[in-house]
């Protein structure tokens, strides 16, 4: 009899213990988010920058900070018992095929609940096909090819502006600068690297050129890993455009800058996408980068108008010893958007996160970008408030020059000739 009681006691104790353990197990202490970036390969320096941005965001979510950012003032995700986020990084080497396989590995082996990153649009494209197939949410804040949000994917969301928005901005800038300086612009030459990102910029730029009434006098695409671009620049010189619009990654941005100078290619203005704003660009070309205009979603000098930018910039510098760049700033957004959604959903299940993402409404003052906020289009899942700004390199620094009314610095126009520059 006694032994029976003892065994019953033991069994019930075991059951109670088991139940408590499983209750705890249901409240995860850490939530894994997969982050795919090009950490080695051609654009590894960019990948490192993106990684830092995402890491800083997770630090702020997991810790206690007196900042006006979502979940900054609390530790972890409050509605999930203060669960902390853990980023699990995967290296794409800048290749779409790795984007696909690494994303799959993160989901099936690392059991991540969501994916961020990829940076290169071509890689994001394959990575997001995997998440769509495996039904895992993907919040992208660093890829800019418009097609990514044109596919009607259920699990893919984009925070930052895409290149169609940026391209339109660039032409609006040209119109504005014509009005401001009285210097007439007639023709535009388009130059772009020939993968997903560049080819799409080319497509939209051509479309907006027509809409804004500019003549496209050259349409040049090239391989981003070229060893020599003299024939490309030769074609541009032959076309004699007023404006050069260039979509590039970093290696080609450096090579083109050097070749422009070498062959003395001086249009009225050079406006660009991506490569020219990467942190490796200016240290490589130094003063030769001056006066180039680049599309951007972030610039430290906007801190004058928005102190939050300064505060986050300060934290970044303290942690990594370098200034926060556009890439780091962009990748900074995705973890917040995901954490905010999980907090509201009170769940880490895919369907719940997606449902919460669809009702995301983060006001502009809670982000480090010059946008009105973050709210996703119910169909395309593109952030409807995302817009761009333009920065210009002046004295080897990026300063915001457009929109004119919001910009702290004046644009230098036209592009000063190479000869006679210091």
């Amino acid at each position: 009899m006694r032994t029976k009681w003892v065994s019953i006691m033991c069994v019930s104790l075991f059951v109670v213990l088991f139940l408590t353990v499983s209750v705890f197990a249901q409240q995860p202490k850490t939530i894994k988010i997969g982050a795919v970036y090009p950490l080695t390969g051609n654009i590894a320096s960019t990948g490192l920058d993106c990684r830092r941005g995402a890491e800083l965001a997770v630090d702020i979510i997991n810790g206690k900070y007196n900042l006006n950012l979502p979940l900054a003032k609390t530790e972890g995700i409050p509605n999930l018992g203060g669960a902390k986020i853990e980023l699990v990084f995967a290296d794409t080497k800048g290749e779409p095929k790795n984007g696909m396989s690494e994303t799959e590995r993160l989901i099936t082996q690392e059991k991540v609940v969501a994916i961020i990153g990829a940076y290169q649009s071509s890689v994001t494209k394959t990575a997001s096909q995997t998440t769509e197939r495996l039904k895992i949410p993907y919040v992208c804040s660093d890829s800019s090819s418009p097609t990514l949000t044109e596919r009607g994917f259920k699990y893919f969301f984009r925070v930052s502006p895409h290149d169609a928005i940026f391209a339109k901005d660039q032409f609006q800038f040209l119109k504005d600068v014509e009005k401001k300086t009285g210097k007439k612009i007639n023709s535009v030459a388009l130059l772009y690297e020939n993968t997903e990102f560049g080819a799409n910029v080319g497509k939209y730029a051509a479309q907006y050129a027509k809409e804004f009434g500019y003549k496209v006098v050259a349409d040049v695409s090239y391989a981003a890993n070229a060893t020599d671009v003299t024939s490309e620049v030769g074609t541009l010189i032959k076309a004699k455009p007023d404006i050069l619009m260039h979509a590039s990654y970093i290696t080609d941005a450096i090579l083109f800058t050097k070749t422009f100078k070498e062959l003395n290619f001086t249009p009225m203005g050079i406006t660009t996408f991506a490569g020219y704003i990467e942190p490796g660009y200016l240290p490589a070309v130094r003063s030769d980068g001056n006066y180039i205009v680049i599309r951007s979603t972030f610039a430290l000098d906007l801190a004058k108008k928005k102190p939050l930018i300064g505060q986050v910039g300060e934290l970044f510098k303290k942690k990594y010893g370098v200034e926060m760049s556009e890439n780091a700033a962009r990748s900074f957004a995705a973890p917040f958007v995901l954490a905010d959604a999980m907090n509201r959903a009170k769940s880490t299940k895919s369907e719940d996160i997606v449902k919460a993402l669809l009702t995301t409404d983060i006001p502009g003052n809670q982000m480090i970008y010059p946008w009105k906020g973050i709210k996703f289009d119910p169909k395309s899942h593109q952030n409807i408030y995302a817009t761009g700004t333009l920065v210009q390199i002046q004295n080897e620094k990026y300063v915001t020059v457009w929109p004119f009314d919001a910009a702290p610095a004046e644009v230098v126009w036209p592009f000063p000739p190479w000869k006679g520059r210091k």
Partner: protein
């Protein structure tokens, strides 16, 4: 238009000479040992970084550090041959392929580990700027590099044709067994060729660093182009590699200029395919 055309021809020649110099090192290794050195581009990268660090740390201009680059790469080539490549020489062909391929990944990742993936440029090399000759712009560092390439190629050519060691290398290249029977120490010839091949990209790296950006993966595309140049010129043929290098440079720039820059590498590889279709041994191979 004629000015534009002249400009493109000049540009094509300037890049072509550089390609030639890189390819000559590769063809020497390939021709003599029948080893496909996939790490050739990475040797180039090491040469460029050596030049960069000598400039950054000790202020030695790339122009003067070229002998140091050359010597360093020569020693590196000897050691790599002695301790790695020679071990698989008697093994299956596949092992030889994999060993240099692995070496390539190892070297470039080691460079990422030590020097970060950042892009570097030599800030103010002695050689910079352009000459304006009747409206045709001539990059000074590229021109000097081209002259360096011509001189080096000529030197290698004479070394192979006139010296005893050079003749031994050529003999080994033609028929290893016969060379062995004639008393040539083919093992020594192998390591010497590997060293010279590496030293040549040391020279190329030094010149290239005066005008090209430097980062751990920079060898990739140069390496690939060097492969096609070697095949186009004929395996093991120094003259072939030299001519094919210039040809590729010209085709690339002019093709890009007249057709579409997007296809310039496609045109290069198409010409290569046509050549090997007609002459599988390459232009000057046997």
């Amino acid at each position: 238009m004629p000015e534009q055309l002249m400009q493109q021809i000049v540009n094509g020649l300037l890049i072509g000479f550089m390609y030639a110099l890189i390819a000559i090192g590769l063809t020497l290794i390939w021709g003599v040992m029948n080893i496909v050195n996939f790490a050739h581009g990475d040797f180039l990268m090491v040469g460029m970084f050596t030049s960069f660090w000598l400039y950054t740390l000790y202020g030695i201009d790339p122009l003067f550090s070229i002998p140091i680059c050359t010597l360093l790469l020569f020693v590196m080539g000897l050691l790599i041959y002695r301790f790695i490549v020679s071990k698989v020489m008697s093994g299956p062909m596949l092992a030889q392929l994999v060993v240099t391929f692995g070496l390539s990944i190892f070297i470039s990742n080691l460079a990422v580990y030590f020097w970060t993936p950042d892009f570097r440029l030599i800030a103010k090399p002695l050689l910079s700027g352009t000459w304006d000759i009747g409206g045709v712009l001539l990059s000074i560092p590229k021109t000097v590099a081209s002259i360096g390439s011509i001189v080096t190629s000529l030197f290698v050519f004479l070394f192979l044709k006139k010296t005893k060691t050079g003749k031994a290398i050529l003999a080994t290249e033609m028929d290893r067994e016969a060379a062995l029977l004639m008393g040539i120490n083919t093992e020594r010839i192998n390591s010497l060729s590997f060293g010279i091949g590496a030293a040549l990209v040391g020279i190329a790296g030094g010149f290239l660093s005066t005008y090209y950006y430097i980062y751990p993966q920079v060898g990739g595309l140069f390496g690939l182009i060097a492969f096609s140049i070697v095949a186009l010129g004929g395996f093991g043929s120094i003259e072939g590699a030299f001519i094919a290098g210039i040809l590729v440079g010209l085709v690339q720039t002019l093709g890009g200029f007249f057709f579409d820059p997007a296809y310039k590498y496609a045109i290069v590889f198409m010409i290569y395919l046509i050549t090997v279709w007609i002459r599988p041994q390459g232009l000057l191979g046997w």
